[in-house]
């Protein structure tokens, strides 16, 4: 039995295009002693199309799943997909905020939803419930060649009154999680920029332009990898990177990796287990791993080499001050 | 509104002069419409409101009692509402034990500038008392 156990909603993407996100989350959570239980007979969260048609019907789709969680006697549901998360959070927000809305939604459901479930992103669970210390304790390997731009996407922390997590304009949770996992993180100004989202189908050029900006900023920031927490972001930046290059005339070759995959690599898991082979832009060149002990030894040697210089400098400074 | 208008209930309000009475005035000046059930008694400070006034009102025919003072830390008399808060919280917890629905009694803080908040408090409290109906007779 795991120490902590959450209801887990992987959603449709993670069963398909983002299989590696699901695999890596399950692997990382297991390593961290967290159990994930899927509700029986879960259905579509409502996703983007539903709420553009009807708020009530969209909320009903989400609430159906939430009521399943209630039946499991769980009060927290975690989902890796920000889109699913927002569907659940919006349903919760609407139903707790208005009795009328709640009645309206519940009329559509076989089992009424009593608003007893809080939905949290898997990033939030990892950041807040598990904590940085626990992550750091699991790290066995370092990736000295890697420098990551953490990319949160648009809805993980926004709108703040619904998301209720991290800073809406400058989130730091993924930065901190990755740093705890021993990964070097770049100061990345476009953490929340739009990747183009679902417009990849109707307006491909626009998505290419937007994704281009994100990729460009990451490279400018000195990163050689972008860490993501959203299947759609991953798809736009990874799958369409070639399209971006051909329409924008760029030559990006930057891997787009789920933050959980990077955690898994730091935990010493095999790339295969983490689905590293499922991304389009390969990360093999930048994810060279050495053990933590080796890494520390190198660092010690570097520090020893620097030390005499530093001491000298300090002494000089002291002299001029007095 | 029609529900309220059809059958008024008796609601007594004790309002401190400096904040909540002023807030009710501000609501009036702003023409923020409210249900008419409430009758307001002006007191200098919420600290002047002996819980026995609330009890007396509820026993002798009020269906609801509302006490409103300055926000904590903003009392015109510095500490009056701090005492009020303890006394009224005690009463709030005692009434349901006696068999009087705690929802018939509400205490809150409204400042002189919060006309809209006052409108909301009166509207919501009146609605709450109406859902309970008239006070039970012995």
């Amino acid at each position: 039995m795991a120490e902590k156990e959450y209801a887990y909603f992987c959603g449709c993407s993670l069963e398909g295009t983002a299989k590696e996100y699901d695999e890596s989350i399950r692997a990382v959570m297991k390593a961290l002693g967290v159990g994930l239980v899927e509700p029986d007979d879960w259905s579509c969260c409502g996703s983007t199309p539903a709420h553009t048609v009807s708020h009530v019907l969209a909320a009903a789709l989400a609430a159906r799943n939430l009521s399943l969680v209630e039946k499991m006697n769980k009060d927290v549901l975690t989902t890796p997909c920000p889109s699913c998360l927002m569907a659940f959070k919006k349903a919760q927000h609407g139903m707790t905020g208005s009795e009328e809305f709640k009645v309206e939604v519940n009329e559509l459901l076989d089992e009424p939803y009593n608003c007893g479930v809080e939905s949290k992103s898997s990033l939030q669970i990892i950041y807040e419930d598990i904590g940085l210390d626990a992550i750091a304790a699991k790290v066995t390997h370092m990736m000295p060649d890697l420098k990551v731009a953490p990319y949160y996407g648009c809805i993980l922390s926004r709108p703040p009154e619904i998301a209720n997590f991290d800073d809406p304009e400058n989130p730091v949770s993924m930065d901190n999680v990755l740093m705890a996992a021993g990964v070097e993180v770049a100061d990345f100004a476009f953490k929340l920029e739009c990747c183009g989202a679902a417009f990849g189908v109707p307006k491909r050029e626009m998505v290419n332009q937007l994704s281009y900006k994100v990729l460009e900023m990451a490279v400018d920031a000195g990163a050689n990898c972008i860490a993501v927490a959203c299947p759609l972001c991953q798809q736009n930046l990874d799958l369409r990177q070639g399209q971006v290059n051909s329409t924008m005339g760029s030559r990006f070759n930057i891997p787009i990796i789920y933050f959980t995959q990077l955690m898994g690599l730091a935990f010493g898991m095999s790339p295969k287990e983490l689905g590293m082979d499922k991304v389009f832009v390969s990360a093999d060149k930048i994810t060279r791993r050495i053990t933590k002990a080796e890494y520390e030894k190198i660092k010690e040697e570097e520090a020893a080499a620097k030390k005499p210089q530093k001491a000298k400098k300090e002494a000089a400074a002291e002299e001029t001050n007095n | 509104m029609s529900e309220v208008a059809s059958k008024e209930l008796r609601i007594v309000g004790f309002l401190c002069n400096w904040c909540s009475y002023g807030g009710a005035d501000t609501a009036g000046v702003g023409r923020f419409k409210q249900p008419t059930d409430l009758r307001i008694i002006r007191v200098p400070c919420s600290g002047r409101v002996d819980p026995m006034f609330v009890v007396r009102a509820l026993i002798t025919g009020a269906d609801g009692v509302l006490v409103s003072g300055c926000h904590p830390r903003d009392c015109h008399y510095t500490d009056g509402n701090f005492y009020a808060r303890r006394r009224l919280e005690m009463l709030k917890r005692l009434l349901p034990f006696l068999g009087i629905d705690g929802k018939r009694f509400h205490y809150t803080w409204v400042s002189a500038s919060e006309g809209q908040r006052w409108q909301q408090v009166v509207t919501d409290f009146t609605k709450q008392v109406h859902t309970l109906g008239p006070m039970h007779q012995k």
Binding site: - | E8, A57, T60
Partner: protein, 653 residues
């Protein structure tokens, strides 16, 4: 008992939604009511005459007026009944306007409610007792809190009027925010050139005593007789010896102290005189940075000081001043840049605040008036100003307009062009708010003569790109997104209440709003008074204000104090607590709960222990009355029986 009831139509304000004739008719049936009538405007002169005539004609001994809020006209009608020979506490006002006619839609229900309000007032007035004020002496000294332009104006006006003034300023020099400004809008005259003489006036006036680098520790007392404890913070420099020569500042080895005066635009020394025109022009040591305090060794300033003024052992000192009135001019604060995450939250050195930019513009500022880019000290060519940064933003808890940012941004755009002729300024704005005299012309000049490009829209993000800061925003007039590669970004950050404003209000017993600004007694008719008599407001402590408004309020507050002090004696409010020594059992629970320590233990001649109220200290809150188990201590005019009469008037089964 013969109660007269006067129902006011208040034009159509009341009569429009209340059947006033019906109310008068019902009032006539109430026990004890001898006369009831409705009148068009009861507060008008003929309306008041109606009351005095009726008192005489019908031998009335109590009066109820059902009209507007007693907070509006209670004093008016109290004077009316007094004129007719009644004690002014034989009057009650039923509020049938703010609490009835203006908020209820249904005339029938309103009328019913108005009748109840009248019944309550009648029952209360029947139990009212005649109360008499006592007179007490006024201490004709005034305390001015804060040495900004509003406080200085108030102090000078009071002192010119012959009053002794005590001024307390928390920072080492008076001058406030205005002393930091380079130029003032819309005249673009030099700020310190017009403020400097005023500062000198304050320093040299015989009747003004200045306590700089001091704070209020405690305020006790009441209008006419306040006892103020002032905490003089240790400056570690004996100001009686310091000549302000500045040698210590020159030699101080700590060069990275935070410069409070310059809002951190550049570092300063650990011992410093904030600015050349400072008053008093004395040095102060910042123990947070001084090596003598941080490391326990240095002593350079002590070595170089020609007068031996340095004293590292200096302790804070508490002094007491007695005054009769207080003018609060504690100013405002600015929202911290860390709140603006989308603008970098202070992570980018080339995103600065308006006041920091003002210091760069200022010839006595850290760059001697040269505009620089903090990151590399180069001269910026493209400067973006963003207004409403925090202001009018509910999500940051500042729904209000900060009043003067539009104007100072226009001024800074103009000055920028003067300083760097080949520069280009951009101003992102929501609305241009320039309703003062010559103000709108000024913002037009910034655009038309100085070429500042005004872009109507919000900035969504600032991010670095090489040496530039990219400012990305919307141009809502063109309906496009704009990106400007700027060398320097200046934020017009929101005006917030001064640090510690709430705690100061608690010491003063005055109200403050949710944003920490002090609440005036009446938003239109009593703008510088507070609900605590003897305490007045001036300047931005009441809300964001520009210089002319602050100066105006300073003078207004001074006029109020001068009027108050024109009498030698003040009358006390007789609505205070009173102990019935026959029923008091001496449990002294009232002594424990009195917020003003106005109740003491007393022993009667027969040895009985009872409570005793110190009349001048009692503020009339009534906490004692609701504490007393045996009803022996009663707050006059709000006694148990008076309030019970009101309860009984509405609660009858």
């Amino acid at each position: 008992m013969r109660v007269g009831v006067f129902i006011c139509h208040c034009g159509s304000n009341i009569a429009g939604t209340v059947d006033v004739a019906k109310v008068a008719e019902e009032a006539r049936k109430m026990p004890g009511v001898a006369y009831a009538t409705a009148y068009m405007y009861t507060c008008s002169e003929p309306g008041q005459k109606e009351i005095t005539d009726a008192i005489e004609r019908d031998k009335l001994d109590r009066v109820v007026v059902a009209a507007c809020s007693p907070r509006m006209h209670e004093n008016t009608f109290r004077r009316t009944v007094m004129k007719a020979g009644l004690n002014r506490y034989f009057f009650e006002q039923a509020n049938i306007r703010e609490h009835v006619s203006w908020i209820g839609l249904d005339k029938e229900l309103n009328t019913k409610k108005a009748i109840d309000e009248v019944r309550m007032a009648v029952e209360k007035v029947k139990r009212n007792k005649p109360l008499f004020s006592t007179s007490f002496k006024v201490n004709k000294r005034v305390l001015v809190l804060g040495g900004g332009v509003a406080g200085m104006q108030a102090a000078i006006d009071c002192a010119d009027g012959g009053l002794e003034v005590i001024m307390v300023e928390k920072s080492p020099s008076i001058g406030g925010m205005m002393a930091r400004l380079d130029k003032t809008f819309p005249t673009v005259d030099c700020s310190i050139c017009i403020l400097g003489p005023k500062m000198v006036d304050v320093a040299q006036h015989d009747l003004i005593k200045l306590h700089a680098y001091s704070e209020i520790a405690e305020i006790k007392g009441y209008v006419g007789n306040y006892q103020i404890k002032i905490r003089k913070k240790p400056t570690y420099v004996d100001w009686t010896k310091c000549t302000g020569c500045g040698l210590c500042m020159e030699k101080c080895p700590t060069k990275n102290a935070y410069d409070h005066f310059n809002f951190g635009a550049a570092p300063t020394r650990a011992i410093n005189i904030p600015f050349p025109q400072a008053i008093p022009k004395k040095a102060t040591i910042d123990p947070e940075f001084c090596r003598q305090f941080v490391k326990g060794k240095c002593g350079v300033c002590a070595k170089v000081c020609p007068t031996g003024a340095i004293n590292y052992e200096m302790q804070e000192e508490i002094i007491t001043e007695d005054v009769g009135a207080i003018i609060t001019a504690t100013g405002y604060g600015l929202m911290g840049i860390e709140n603006f995450k989308e603008y970098g939250a202070g992570r980018y050195p080339d995103v600065i605040t308006g006041i920091q930019y003002e210091r760069f513009l200022n010839a006595s500022g850290p760059t001697s008036g040269h505009i620089i880019r903090p990151s590399d000290h180069e001269e910026p060519k493209t400067i973006v100003f963003i207004s409403c940064v925090g202001s009018r933003d509910k999500s940051l808890g500042v729904p209000y307009c900060s009043n003067f940012c539009c104007m100072y941004i226009a001024k800074q755009a103009i000055l920028t062009k003067d300083h760097i002729p080949d520069s280009q300024s951009y101003v992102f704005y929501m609305d241009i708010r320039s309703p003062g005299k010559g103000y709108d012309e000024f913002t037009r000049r910034a655009q038309e003569e100085y070429g500042a490009k005004y872009i109507r829209g919000r900035v969504s993000r600032i991010y670095p790109k090489g040496k530039k800061m990219v400012v990305r925003g919307a141009d809502t007039l063109l309906g496009t997104q704009v990106e400007i590669e700027a060398d320097l970004v200046v934020l017009g950050n929101a005006v917030v209440s001064a640090e510690g404003a709430a705690q100061m209000a608690e010491k003063l017993h005055i109200s403050y709003d949710t944003h920490g600004f002090y609440v005036e007694s009446h938003p239109k008719l009593r703008p510088v008074e507070t609900n605590t008599s003897g305490v007045y407001l001036a300047g931005a402590c009441q809300g964001p204000k520009d210089i002319p408004a602050s100066v105006g309020q300073g003078s207004a507050a001074a006029a109020k104090v001068l009027a108050l002090f024109s009498k030698d004696m003040l009358e006390s409010d007789p609505a205070i607590a009173n102990v019935n020594i026959n029923t008091c059992v001496g449990c002294l629970k009232c002594v424990k709960t009195c917020p003003f320590q106005a109740i003491v233990e007393d022993t009667l001649r027969n040895g009985k222990k009872v409570a005793k109220v110190i009349e001048t200290v009692c503020a009339g809150c009534g906490v004692c009355t609701s504490t007393c188990p045996c009803g022996a201590i009663q707050l006059q005019h709000f006694t148990d029986n008076q309030l019970l009469a009101e309860v009984n008037a509405i609660c009858q089964k």
